[in-house]
């Protein structure tokens, strides 16, 4: 279960849900700094395909990850309507490119289910938990894992 979830065990959690690679994901709202329209990025050499490049966020250089590619769902097709979720993790600021942002989800801690024992270790690592909303399932993204494996490549 998410550490953050345990930290505020008695409160309601707010998540922002978004879709990437046709699936719906969410991030806890406190991790998100802002949501921006897609602007062209500067590509970085010697980086994996899911690192799109870097973007200027008011003077700071932040890397942009393609979340869909990150999760092995193929590169997000270029689209004007793509959005970048700017999030903070471990003191660094990063951007996640997603197809669209949907809504704010207010859930109780008990509604977050642990990630079932699925085959792919990588996937299990990057998904902290799941929330079911109506008929659909929303995956809670583990930001730390997204950044970690992005950096882990030898340069």
């Amino acid at each position: 279960m998410a550490e953050t979830a345990e930290a505020h065990a008695d409160t309601q959690f707010e998540f922002i849900t978004f879709s990437a690679g046709g699936q719906s994901y969410c991030l806890e709202i406190t991790q998100i700094r802002e949501i921006r329209r897609w602007t062209p990025v500067t590509a970085l050499p010697h980086t994996p395909a899911d690192v799109l490049g870097v973007m200027n966020l008011r003077g700071a250089v932040i890397p942009i990850f393609d979340l869909s590619a990150r999760f092995g769902l193929g590169a997000t097709p270029a689209n004007e309507r793509n959005v970048v979720i700017v999030a903070a993790v471990d003191g660094a600021t990063i951007g996640l490119q997603v197809e669209s942002v949907s809504e704010i989800l207010s859930v109780d801690k008990s509604e977050i289910q642990e990630t079932p024992d699925i085959k792919s270790e990588a996937t299990r690592n990057s998904i902290q938990g799941m929330i079911s909303v109506d008929d659909t399932m929303v995956r809670v993204v583990n930001l730390g894992a997204v950044v970690e494996s992005g950096k882990g490549l030898p340069a």
Partner: protein, 705 residues
């Protein structure tokens, strides 16, 4: 809280004083007779002692006292400075700085060395040592610095006549002081004659009872030292015009007479007070050369201590300002206004102003390399002691200013290199003798500004590098294949390879597990380069080239494939628009360009960054000629050069990770990010890529993406 901050201030001041001490000692070496220098040294030690006394740092006080006492004898010309004494002073200075450090960090220091040093120092004192010691004990309670009164003790019986002019200001009365009480206190010290000057009292109509009109002229015959007189006026100094001078001293009248006309009035700063007061106190009993001592404007320059964070914040903001300025310029250009003449002028002025501000802000962080160099003189001393070699250090250009961070991060590599220079560079004295050289080796440290960068050189006049041994060693360690053919510079550069440590073959001194590769990495991390030149029999020189600041640099805006990038101007020797005839293909895909008769390999930047789609054929693009240590001259091929401008360096590492071939990023006028290339790394990458499967792999991947 406040207690701590005073303590911090003391240690900060100690640092400055120690710097002055080391500087003074090295000057003493050149001119042992220059009393001004001796005084400066004495004052440093003395001020440290004074301050340490206030914080009850007894150990520091007692050592500083021994040091100071010997120094004092030199000052009085009772003791001639010879090589041995000089070396003792150096060691004492080193130990003093160790003591200050240990007091600051509250760590414990080994007593043995200290007692040895104190013993050595005391041996210079002879019989007087005991007496001095005694008088010292008597005055440690004195807050202002005990030694002030030391000499006066000897002179306690001498009666002197002081001439005192006391002219209270209005503020003195407003602060509730009463001149009569002061006069009474003076009368207690000896025989006092007072003369009031009432000439300034105005007509009754104009009389303002709150103003000060009276002044007094006094003559005091007293055996008390002058400090005691100053103590009487302690609380009103600054509120009055005070002039204390010694008119006659029965024993040494003629000598002291001309010394007087410079009293210490109104000095607020404690250090300055001690400095000002001290010569006066000590002049009469000692017949040191009095004149020079007076004209010492060497007090600390007025400075402002500012929290480094604030400066950095300011620097960041100025960086944003420069980016913003570039953006505005670009936007206005895009507007394509019909008559923009005026606007262009204003814009140009804005640009210049922004640059001025930026330079000014950078200057705040810039500091002279002097303290760093001074630290090295200690390393030279220690290293030469440990190896039984004789070495002296010469510094050139130590007022060259470099960014503070650079100075801090350069300390370790420089220490290592200086140590190496003594240990490996210099020969043993007899070896030097037979080579017809001065038995005392010279380590030369120089710093200078060179076209936007700082050049620091460490050179020795030793035997030069033993290339055969280096090569043999590299082969033995498996760093290069045994049959390799290397040019001399290439062999020299083997020293920088990781895993090449000469520790095995030499003393414990250099073998501290730090190889030259660590030095190289440290310099690289600062965006600098280190290179090596060596002449057999003449010596070896290491040159470090560093950027002036870590925040801004001048670069060419270039395009590589379809990306805009920046390359540091400092690394580029020349730009060439090549004639297709000059480009030749070597092997299957390597190209060389002929530049004035010599062939220079071409490295395609886009290719190496995995960006190219190979649509540009040979001959297209522009070549940037760069020089590197490992690969020599290389031409980097880029698609075009657009502009030359100042760019603000933004770290990639803070939010992502380091990327090979790219040193940082910057933000261009249109708000987009451009990568700043690292030419050296790019070239190394090109040479390595042939057998680096990963480089191949990532290129594939990007193409898919």
């Amino acid at each position: 809280m406040s207690g701590n901050s005073i303590r911090d201030t003391f240690f900060e001041e100690c640092e400055e004083l120690l710097e002055a001490l080391v500087e003074g000692l090295s000057q003493m070496e050149q001119a042992p007779d220059d009393m001004e220098v001796v005084n400066a040294v004495f004052r440093s030690v003395h001020s440290i002692k004074g301050g340490a006394g206030a914080f009850a740092l007894d150990r520091l006080v007692s050592f500083a006292h021994s040091f100071e006492t010997v120094m004092d004898k030199v000052r009085d010309r009772d003791l001639a400075v010879d090589e041995k004494l000089m070396s003792l002073f150096h060691r004492a200075g080193d130990h003093l700085s160790d003591l200050v450090e240990s007091a600051r960090d509250e760590t414990h220091l080994d007593d043995e060395a200290e007692s040895g040093l104190i013993g050595e120092l005391d041996s210079y004192l002879g019989d007087e040592a005991a007496a001095e010691e005694f008088s010292f004990d008597a005055v440690t309670l004195d807050f202002d610095g005990p030694a002030i009164e030391l000499p006066s003790e000897d002179d306690s019986s001498a009666m002197r006549v002081f001439d005192i002019r006391f002219e209270p200001s209005r503020a003195l009365y407003e602060n509730g002081h009463e001149p009569l009480l002061i006069l009474d206190a003076l009368a207690d010290l000896g025989e006092l004659t007072v003369e009031a000057d009432i000439s300034r009292i105005p007509e009754f109509d104009a009389f303002d009872p709150a103003d000060a009109f009276l002044s007094w002229h006094m003559r005091l015959a007293s055996s008390e030292p002058e400090t005691t007189l100053h103590e009487v006026f302690e609380f009103v100094e600054g509120l009055c015009d005070l002039d204390i001078s010694v008119t006659t001293g029965p024993e040494e009248g003629p000598l002291t007479a001309p010394l007087d006309p410079e009293p210490s009035t109104g000095t607020e700063e404690p250090i300055a007070e001690i400095e000002a007061a001290e010569p006066q106190d000590e002049d009469p009993p000692y017949e040191g050369p009095p004149r020079e001592r007076r004209k010492e404007p060497r007090g600390p320059k007025p400075t402002l201590r500012v929290d480094l964070d604030r400066v950095d914040r300011l620097i960041n903001t100025v960086g944003e300002l420069i980016i913003n300025q570039a953006m505005i310029s670009q936007r206005i250009e895009e507007l394509d206004l019909p008559t923009v003449a005026h606007l262009t002028n204003e814009l140009e002025a804005y640009k210049l102003l922004a640059r001025d501000i930026q330079e000014g802000v950078m200057a705040i962080r810039a500091q002279p390399v002097k303290p760093l160099f001074q630290r090295m003189s200690r390393i030279v001393r220690e290293a030469s002691d440990a190896t039984g070699k004789k070495a002296k250090m010469v510094t050139v250009g130590d007022s060259t200013e470099v960014d503070k961070t650079v100075i801090e991060r350069l300390a370790d590599p420089l220490t290592h290199m200086v140590r190496n220079a003594v240990d490996h560079g210099l020969e043993k004295p007899d070896g030097r003798d037979s080579a017809g050289k001065d038995p005392v080796g010279t380590i030369r440290l120089s710093a200078s500004h060179r076209s936007g960068s700082v050049l620091i050189e460490i050179s020795d006049d030793g035997a030069g590098l033993n290339r055969e041994r280096i090569l043999a060693k590299a082969i033995e360690k498996g760093l290069v294949p045994p049959d390799v053919e290397l040019s001399d510079p290439e062999i020299d550069n083997l020293l920088f390879l990781p895993g090449f440590s000469t520790a095995g073959e030499v003393s414990a001194l250099s073998g501290r597990g730090v190889g030259m590769d660590v030095v190289k990495n440290a310099v690289h991390a600062l965006g600098g380069r280190v290179s090596i030149t060596s002449t057999p029999g003449k010596g070896t020189t290491f040159a470090i080239v560093l950027p002036l600041t870590l925040a801004v640099m001048d670069g060419f805006v270039i395009s590589v494939a379809d990306q805009t990038m920046v390359i540091p101007i400092s690394s580029i020797l020349e730009t060439i628009r090549p004639n297709p005839r000059d480009i030749h293909v070597v092997g299957t895909d390597s190209q060389v360009v002929s530049v004035r008769g010599s062939y220079v390999p071409i490295v395609d930047v886009a290719d190496n960054l995995g960006l190219s789609r190979h649509d540009d054929t040979a001959g297209a693009g522009i070549l940037l000629l760069v020089s590197t240590e490992l690969q020599g001259l290389t031409a980097l091929r880029v698609t075009a050069i657009h502009d030359q401008r100042q760019v603000v360096i933004k770290s990639l590492e803070s939010n992502y990770a380091a990327i090979r071939g790219v040193s940082a990023a910057t933000i261009l006028g249109d708000g987009k990010i451009a990568l700043i290339l690292d030419p050296e790394e790019l070239i190394n990458l090109a040479h390595a890529s042939g057998n680096d499967p990963f480089a191949q792999h990532s290129r594939m991947e990007l193409r898919h993406g």
